[in-house]
Amino acid sequence: MPVFFEKKQLVTPGELLAEGDYLPGENTYNQENKIFASRIGLADTENKKVNVVALRAFYLPKPGDIVIGTIVEVGFNGWTVDIKSPYTALLRASDVLSRPFKPQTDELSQVLNAGELIVAKVASYDRAHDPQLTVSEPGLGKITRGQIMRVTPTKIPRVIGKKGSMISMIKQVTGCQIILGVNGVVLVTGKNLEDEELAMTAIQKIEAESHTSGLTDRITQLLKDEKAKQEEKKIE
Amino acid sequence: MSTLLTRVRQKQIGQMIDAGKRLDGRTLTDYREFTIEEGLIERAEGSARIRLGKTDVLVGVKIETGEPFPDTPNDGVLTVNAELVPLASASFEPGPPDENSIELARIVDRGIRESKAVSSDKLVIESGKKVFVVFVDVYVLNHDGNLIDASALAAVAALTNAKMPNYEIEDGEVKTKTGYSPLPMKSHPITVTIAKINDKLVVDPQIEEEQVLDARISMAVNDEGNICAIQKGCAGSFTPQQIIEASKIAQEKAAEIRKKLDW
């Protein structure tokens, strides 16, 4: 039962990964008992499953995902939200207003206007309908401070790290609040601009080097060095 | 759109083809019955109408005079246009030629041009100044599948009965003489379109078959049995082996049609 790649090998779409008694995992497909890669990424096996961790993919919503989106349009009874996925999402007015919605008197653009950012949860999504969002849980809602950056969605797990170790370290050293949208949009809120930029630089570095080894050490080093520089500047 | 096939029908077509048969009783390599009527539009210099099953295509040939292209001063001009007239199908909309009518025109053009069907060197009235310009207009009247083969056959038939006015040069001026001469033809290319359905090759797809096909391939064959144009179409694929098989089928069918039409 052959496997045709080495662990964490960089594979391209159409590359033959395995033949025989294997199951197609993430970013792979099977045809006539053979498993092929469907995206560029790093190939790996998990028991009998062949997976490819994609280095480049777009975000497809799943119910329960926490995402960060931009209001695109104020509609009749809700808002259209860009969550950086092939489908625009909908946020109903009734979800945001804690009371029944009155179209004649409620001015939706005053609650949320085009161009504003929100943190929301994907309430529902299926093949036939655009994703529906909800903000009616604690921690969700309009974003008023901080900076936004984008990360390829497939790299978000690497930014989080094992049991959240990587993201916790960044938060601790920079003192920033960081919300990682599953859709690859990240919100960084710090006490000052330098802290925010340091956090963003660290995250960018993780995205660029996610498929290499020794990354955790290099990030730790980067944060340590930059923080030290900041302290020096303060003394001067 | 009323032209969408139900899943039940799609399945039925697939099952029959797996068993080597088609909805209308043909084998996988049979053409539908066809008839060609020539010279029915007197105002046109040449015309022909084909009925291939229920597919109905009328081709008119207009011959005018004009300037040759600067890089071919001793050749006449041939141009092919196709109209998917709205009355031919619920899916055709009025408007400028879309990609389907442009592709159809260019496939028909390629077969005629590459086989040198029309002797363009005999279309010169005055070298570099005045030549015959042959307009071939394909008019699809009813779409029941395989517009390519129907249009290509009708186009060649229209060209064979086309007549051009006689000209002569008198005192440096071009003047018309009485009478007409037949358009000089050197070859009669025949285009055969083969569809791939459930991995089987099916000749002359009828409209419902076109809606379930994976891909199609059209090959134009000249009098000598050589291939002068090929176009693979639609969003599927063929293996190289299937293409070679298709080319054999195309040659066979072209020879049959050539015999039937006495071309």
């Binding site: 777009f58 625009t88 | 990609e99 190289p240 054999k248």
Partner: protein
């Protein structure tokens, strides 16, 4: 107007540009070159210079063009006015319309269109300089741009043409050979699936010559495929190389 050369291939089997019958023109491909596109690629194949940008998957505009059960692929093949010897009008020609269609049909078999209903992708091909075989080079680059956009594919699509000049079947015709030669056979191919997704031919070939030309074009595709894959890999390996340098210093 330059004179027509007497022979396109000499007795020793050398063509006017110095190549042998089965030799490809030089090829250079780069992936991820347009910052605003979701995916992009640039190819130089002989004197051809072609840039491809892909947007999507995204919602289709106008909405009525979308399909409820699958993704729609739109493709626009366009030549810049300065790309050819005699300035070409920027308006789409009939040739460009046909090529846009056949190129789309060559790429579509590689895309899992059923996975993303109601969405669409736009493939924009701009030919900046043309010297024969632009549709093939466009397909090779477009497939990379689609992969670069993170769209799942069954395989990359690679394309190459073969044809006949004088009495010889040759690989990868450039413009002069296409115009003055006997036949041209462009082929697009998915190597891992042995699937031909584009096949055209103009000229006159015996059935045997056609078979030889098609097989030669497929061999050409197989030669280009590793270069195509490498261009895709190179974009993602760049970080790795930078890293190696850092560590060595």
């Amino acid at each position: 107007m330059s004179e027509k050369p007497e022979k396109l291939i000499d007795k020793k089997g050398i063509r006017l540009d110095g190549r042998k019958a089965d030799e490809l023109r030089p090829l250079k491909i780069e992936v991820g070159v347009l910052p605003n596109a979701d995916g992009s690629a640039y190819i130089e194949h002989g004197k051809n210079k072609i840039l491809v940008g892909v947007f999507g998957p995204r919602e289709m505009h106008p909405k009525h063009l979308s399909q409820s059960d699958r993704m729609v692929i739109r493709c626009r093949y366009h030549m810049a006015p300065f790309s050819v010897q005699e300035r070409k009008s920027p308006a789409p020609s009939r040739r460009e319309v046909e090529l846009s269609k056949v190129i789309r049909e060559s790429l579509e078999p590689s895309v899992f269109v059923d996975l993303y209903p109601r969405s669409g992708i736009d493939v924009f091909i701009e030919v900046l300089q043309a010297d024969g075989g632009t549709r093939c080079a466009s397909i090779t680059a477009a497939s990379l741009a689609i992969a670069d956009a993170g769209i799942p594919l069954r395989d990359l699509v690679v394309a190459c043409a073969a044809g006949k000049i004088d009495d010889t079947v040759v690989l990868d015709l450039y413009d002069a050979e296409d115009k003055l030669g006997v036949a041209d056979v462009p082929v697009a191919y998915m190597p891992n699936l042995n699937a031909v997704t584009l096949l055209q031919m103009d000229g006159v070939l015996t059935p045997k010559e056609f078979e030889n030309a098609m097989n030669m074009a497929i061999d050409g595709c197989k030669k280009i495929y590793p270069i195509q894959k490498e261009a895709l890999r190179a974009k993602y390996m760049a970080a790795r190389e930078e890293l190696k340098e850092e560590v060595e210093e």
